[in-house]
């Protein structure tokens, strides 16, 4: 490499950093930096009225899994309430991912196989809910399933039931709500994967006497797999961190991790526990994303 080229490259790298500096500054100040401060807070002692005292303590992390027996100081028992919340969050997030995949795949397939003229319109119809306020969509589904809502009003009026069918404030409500609000996140990457796919391959396989199942397994699945992985991650991650949807549809009893974290900074007044829980959630999400990146890389290096 010549000296002139070398110095031009150096200038290019310097300008890249200079141009990115404002974005990096804003993000450090109001997004990444505070995460580090929160990590420190998770190792401090909780203050009496919220906030923390500057004394090192592992109590925040320990109380995620164990709680001290009220009558027997020094004896630690499993924090059942916390484990229930974790289990509910993971269970509902997996169920949401599976349901959205199950109904999202045919939907994405349908859009991708529309004639080129009407395809953008169908895509637009999926994009509108995607960009519509999550709170508004949660309120919309709440209106439909609550006791005085559309479903119950119709059922009561038709005489099929005499008392309203209780859906809201149950795990089922949170599950329905999350599947409803996160569905577009599944359909869009699936569509992107299917859209790239040459449909003549299926017809070719079929002409060569492959069975329907063989076509699905050998031709369709390998090609749409990146879309399935991307969609699943895009639904699983926000489901696990969901706050608004479980708060409105689940009420105070059916909390998920997000609501539990929120509680520690409100009535719970246990900032170190809240900080430790947040870090735990962040680690789980990061692991999920790394799995996705690895899978995506393997996909590109093989295909």
């Amino acid at each position: 490499m010549s000296a002139a080229e070398d110095s031009r490259d150096k200038a290019s790298v310097r300008s890249a950093w200079l141009l990115s500096a404002p974005a990096i500054f804003v993000l450090t100040f109001a997004a990444c930096g505070p995460l580090l401060i929160m990590l420190v807070y998770s190792f401090l002692t909780k203050g009496q009225y919220g906030n923390v005292e500057g004394v090192f303590s592992l109590e925040g992390w320990r109380s995620i899994l164990y709680s001290e027996d009220i009558f027997d100081p020094g004896v630690f028992v499993w924090a059942d309430a916390h484990l229930t919340i974790f289990w509910r969050s993971v269970k509902l997030s997996i169920l949401t991912t599976l349901l959205t995949l199950l109904i999202g795949f045919p939907t994405a397939w349908f859009i991708a196989t529309r004639p080129p003229k009407s395809r953008p319109l169908w895509l637009f119809l999926i994009t509108i809910p995607f960009w519509t306020n999550l709170l508004i969509r949660t309120v919309a589904i709440f209106e439909v399933i609550r006791n005085e809502g559309v479903i119950n009003t119709v059922l009561l009026w038709s005489g099929l039931i005499t008392v309203p069918f209780q859906i809201t404030y149950t795990d089922t409500a949170v599950f329905i709500g999350m599947a409803y609000v996160f569905l577009p996140l599944m359909v869009l990457p699936l569509f992107a994967a299917i859209d790239r796919f040459d449909m003549r391959l299926i017809e070719a396989a079929y002409d060569l006497y492959a069975s329907r199942f063989a076509v699905l397994r050998r031709v369709i699945l390998p090609i749409v797999r990146p879309g399935v992985i991307a969609g699943s991650i895009l639904v699983f991650v926000p489901s696990l961190g969901a706050v608004v949807t479980p708060r409105i549809l689940g009420g105070g009893k059916n909390m998920m991790i997000g609501n539990f974290i929120e509680l520690q900074f409100g009535q719970g007044r246990n900032w170190p526990l809240g900080a430790a829980l947040s870090m735990t959630l962040l680690v789980i999400v990061t692991v999920a994303l790394l799995v996705y990146v690895r899978a995506a890389n393997r996909e590109t290096s093989h295909g």
């Binding site: 990115s20 974005a23 804003v26 997004a31 309120v139 919309a140 589904i141 609550r146 005085e148």
Partner: protein, 267 residues
């Protein structure tokens, strides 16, 4: 061999499921909008058509101030985010890959990866100590927080536009002795404009929608429209919430349509 005829667009049941999904996706939104025109005081019982709740919302001081605050924050945050994102996109596209490039990508896209509640809590901790130290309680915190999480949304369309742009025009300008600044001002920027506008609109929509981070960062009396609605939901729900939602919905659809027209013209 007629039974082996195969059409990819007609897999059994797919069309029915897809149409059902579209119906289920829009039904709740339709119900929400219909009940915003309800004359009665609860959103469950239909008591006739009226614009009553739009009027109520319009005359409600709390709604007015929350709307102005939401718009103010969204405009400021989208301007800051778009400015930062445009520079970052210019810095990270169309050049040789370099060490630290991945770091910049991860930084910029970080708000898309970290759960909102985690960022919200971290900002609460950080800003609480700044509030105590400086005594400043203003909207600056909300604008800073919104600017940060809007950056990746502004960055993506701008970067996509830059990557699709033809280098030859800029090379031609440089060959004709235009200074780098002139080339940027007269050639690059006009070509990039649709991407910048699209990025700014996405940032605006994202800022306008935020609930969780706003709830944790705001000081007392700094409700935005979504946090105001959240507060109303905790009490008795009146069709006023439906009316506000419908207006926000209309605004989103309007901006999205504009966004699609803007980005489609390029193809």
């Amino acid at each position: 061999m007629a039974d082996r005829n195969f059409s990819a667009s007609h897999l059994p049941g797919f069309t029915q499921i897809a149409l059902l999904v579209f119906a289920l996706l829009y039904l709740p939104i339709a119900v929400l909008v219909v009940y915003s025109f309800n004359a009665g005081t609860t959103s469950g019982l239909w008591e006739g058509f009226s614009f009553r709740w739009y009027g109520t919302a319009w005359q409600n001081d709390a709604v007015q101030s929350a709307t102005l605050r939401s718009l103010g924050i969204a405009v400021s945050a989208s301007i800051i985010a778009t400015f930062c994102a445009t520079l970052a996109a210019l810095g990270t596209t169309r050049r040789k890959s370099f060490r630290g490039q991945t770091f910049i990508y991860v930084m910029i896209n970080q708000p898309l990866m970290v759960p909102e509640i985690v960022t919200a809590v971290a900002l609460l901790i950080f800003f609480a100590s700044i509030k105590v130290a400086t005594g400043y309680q203003g909207l600056g915190y909300l604008i800073a927080a919104h600017s940060a999480f809007c950056i990746p949304f502004a960055y993506l369309p701008i970067r996509a536009r830059l990557e699709g742009m033809d280098l030859s025009l800029e090379t031609a300008a440089a060959d004709l002795y235009a200074t780098p600044w002139m080339t940027f001002r007269r050639v690059t920027l006009p070509l990039l404009a649709p991407g910048i506008i699209a990025g700014a609109m996405l940032a605006f929509v994202i800022s306008l929608d935020d609930v969780v981070i706003t709830e944790f960062v705001k000081s007392g009396g700094q409700d935005t429209l979504p946090t105001y609605m959240m507060g109303q939901l905790r009490r008795v729900m009146t069709p006023e919430v439906n009316a506000i939602s419908s207006v926000l919905l209309a605004l989103t659809v309007l901006l999205l349509t504009a966004f699609f027209l803007l980005t489609r013209k390029n193809d």
